[in-house]
Each structure stands twice: as C-alpha cells, then as structure tokens.
C-alpha cells in the first residue's frame, strides 16, 4: 500500500480545532453543550485509543480463544444496548436474553459462513478479519433487533383491546398478533433497507471510504462493501425475525392469552 498517508498526532490535534470552534459557538449562543461536547470528544479519543491498543495486542497474540472471547464481549455489550433502547421490555432475564441471543446467533452464523466460504482468511478465525466483520454485522443487527422489539412491545401494550378482540373472535394468538408482529418486523428491516437504498448515492460507507483512503482500488473496496451489506442484510433479517417471534411467544401463552403482565413495570 504505497499511497497510504500516515497521520501524525499533530494532525489530530489540529483537527480538534473544529471542536473548539463548536464549543465557542455553544458558549456564545448559551446552548449548554460545550462541556458535553468536550467530554464526548475526549471519551471518543480515549475509547478509540484503547481499542487500537487492544486490537494490536489481539492481532499479535492471534489466538482463536481470545478472538472468540472478544467477540463474546462485543455481543454482550450489544445485547445490553438492545435492552436499554426498549421503552417497554420483557421483565426479568427474558428482557435481555431474547434480543441478545437472537442477535448473537444471527451475527455469529453469518460471520462464520462469510469467513469460511467467501473471505477465507488464513487461519479462518484470523482476528484481523473476524473481529471487524463481526463488529459491523453485529452493530447493524443490534439496531434492527432493538427497533423491532421496541415496536413490538409498545404496540402490543397499546393495542391490547384490539388484540383481545381478535382473540375473543376465536383467533389463535399468532393470528391475533399478526398485524402487530408484521409492523415490528417492518420496523426492524427499515434501517438496512434505507441504508441499501441510499448506498453510493447519498452515502459512501465508512468501511469502503476507509479502504479507498488506505490505497485500495475502489473497485475492490466496493466489492468488499457489497459483500458486507449483503451479510448485514442477512444477519439483520435472521436476528429481527428470531427476536420478534420469540418475544411475541413470550408475551402470549398456550391458552392463547395476551400476557402483558410479563412486561416490566415501567411506571
């Protein structure tokens, strides 16, 4: 990669000037954002620096177990994020585990397929490929799953009268919940559909621009990006369907009742 331009720390410090300007604007207009802005900018620098160190170490050690462990930790954090983003959530253990496990199964499955058939790094679990790939798939699946579950639980809660009316007319729990399950699935699919639609026209994805900046032929970078988007689409679909159906199952029972009592009491 001959035409890769390395950045110095002075370049970064110079880039921070724009944040300082934003802070000055915030103070001038009394937006109250200056402190927050500096803190998040500082946090961002610290977090990314630590990640750089971690990745460097993980790549150097290059152990399959360490790679798996890191992937697991990423999954657990993403699961927590799904949990935190839902206004109404299932109570207890289920609130965390349904979203997290659906996302992880989908993410791990798609990542493994991609590593073993399409990208084929050597060894196949090579963390330099496995972790960034898993991270991109996981992050997008997380967004889809959390939107779908948020839609499902809040809609079932709000439409209780309508669902019970359908149950009273002799419909099964799946028939009764179907319109609301469909709505949740649509909400979960929306971000990846929007992303694909805007791709290349409105947005140039970060991974592809990153590769181009580091000197990769745009055609090669685009090929990678297309594969990534297809993988993300696949994992999001699997995760969204799994999490939504499992949650709908949990929010009803075998006597075809709506079980909103299994939602966490938020009030």
């Amino acid at each position: 990669m001959a035409d890769y331009i390395s950045l110095s720390y002075w370049d970064l410090a110079f880039g921070a000037i724009f944040i300082l300007i934003n802070g000055a604007i915030s103070i001038a207009f009394r937006l109250g954002l200056a402190k927050k802005l500096f803190i998040v900018a500082f946090r961002m620098v610290v977090q990314l620096s630590i990640v750089a160190l971690l990745l460097k170490t993980i790549f150097a050690i290059s152990s399959p177990w360490l790679t798996a462990l890191v992937a697991l930790a990423m999954g657990l954090f993403a699961g927590r994020e799904i949990w935190a983003r839902q206004q109404k959530k299932l109570s207890g253990f289920w609130g965390y585990s349904i979203g997290a496990s659906a996302m992880m199964f989908a993410g791990i499955f798609v990542t493994l397929v991609a590593l073993s058939t399409q990208i084929q790094p050597d060894p196949w679990w090579n963390p330099q490929y496995a972790l960034p790939l898993f991270g991109m798939i996981l992050g997008n699946t997380m967004t889809g799953v959390s939107l779908a579950l948020d839609s499902l639980t809040s809609t079932l809660d709000r439409e209780r009268g309508a669902i019970e009316a359908r149950l009273l007319l002799g419909k099964t729990r799946w028939q009764a919940m179907l319109p609301f399950v469909q709505k949740a699935l649509r909400a979960g699919f929306m971000p990846i559909i929007n992303a694909m639609a805007a791709m290349g026209i409105v947005s140039l994805p970060g991974m592809m621009t990153g590769q181009i900046l580091s000197g990769v032929d745009p055609q090669e970078a685009v090929k990678y990006q297309i594969l990534i988007l297809l993988l993300i689409g696949g994992a999001t679909g699997l995760g969204v369907i799994g999490a939504t159906l499992a949650s709908a199952y949990r929010l009803s029972d075998d006597r075809h009742r709506l079980r909103l009592d299994r939602l966490k009491n938020t009030s």
């Binding site: 309508a162 149950l167 009273l168 002799g170 075809h256 009742r257």
Partner: protein
C-alpha cells in the same frame, strides 16, 4: 367474564355440554362461549375489516338501526353506541352456544336498547345461553330468568320470572 373465556387465568373446572375447557384449545372455546366486553376493540381502519365476509349481516344491522353501508365506514368515526352494537353483531356472527355480555346497552339510547334486548331474547329462545352484566335493575327484570346482585363483594340471588336455568 374474562376468566370464563380464559382471557384471564382462573382456577377450577368449566364444562360446556360435558366438555372441559382445558381439553380444547382456547380459541375453539372462545367460539363456543363468546364474550362481548363493555369496551369493544378495533384493529383496522374500516368497519368491514372486522367482520367475516360470508355471514349475512344485512338484516341484523337494520334491526339494530345501523346503516347498511356501515361496513364501509371508518372505525374512528363511529359513535360509542355504534361500536357497542357492532361489537355485539360481531360476536353473534360466531354463532356461539353461550353469550357473555358485559353492559351490552350501556352506551345506547332507549330505542336501540330495546332492539338489542329483543335480539337477546331471540337468541335465548333459539337455545343460546346468555349471561349479562348490567347496572340497570329494570333491564335485569325484563330479560332474566335468574338474576344475582353483587353487593359489597357478595353475590345474592334475586330470583326471576322463571326458575329454569
């Protein structure tokens, strides 16, 4: 009433024509024992979406002072009385063996109350078992074979016109 149709958890045994509730799926049970709650639920925008297509409704709608094209109306423009009557019609369309009615005429005026009551009587005559919750003592007298008064948490039998249950 919600407990009878298995929408709320309940203990004990419940038999209909010798068949125990737990031996059949809840959705089959609810077709045999239809509950019309005081608040009817709606999921579509148009009234017609809430009715099975093959059930002859025209006569029933007219006898409840509902317009024939009510099925094309928007649900959110219905009055509470219209909702209540349509909810009642919707349950009749299941042809249940037992009808559970929770305040079936609470939102209705005198004329439509009479119309609903006459349909209730017809249903009872044709062999449908009917349980009604009402706050209107006169309505209980007009309709009931047996009536009970819930007072301070205790159920008391008031008797009725006839004593065959």
């Amino acid at each position: 009433m919600r407990a009878i149709v298995d929408l709320d958890k309940s203990k004990g045994e419940l038999l209909l024509d010798g068949v125990e509730r737990q031996t059949m799926p809840a959705y089959e049970w609810r077709k045999l024992i239809a509950l019309v709650p005081a608040e009817t639920g709606w999921w579509g925008d148009i009234v017609g979406e809430h009715f099975e297509e093959n059930y002859p409704l025209a006569e029933l709608l007219t006898s409840l002072s509902l317009s024939k094209d009510v099925l094309e109306w928007q649900v959110r423009r219905l009055s509470s009385g219209e909702r209540q009557r349509l909810g009642f019609v919707r349950a009749l369309a299941l042809k249940p063996k037992i009808l559970l009615l929770d305040e079936p005429t609470a939102a209705l005026d005198e004329k439509t109350t009479k119309q609903v009551e006459s349909i209730i009587k017809q249903q009872a005559k044709s062999g449908v078992g009917i349980i009604i919750i009402t706050h209107d003592e006169k309505q209980a007298k007009r309709l009931a074979d047996k009536s009970y008064l819930l007072e301070n948490g205790a159920l008391k039998q008031l008797g009725g016109k006839k004593s065959n249950g």
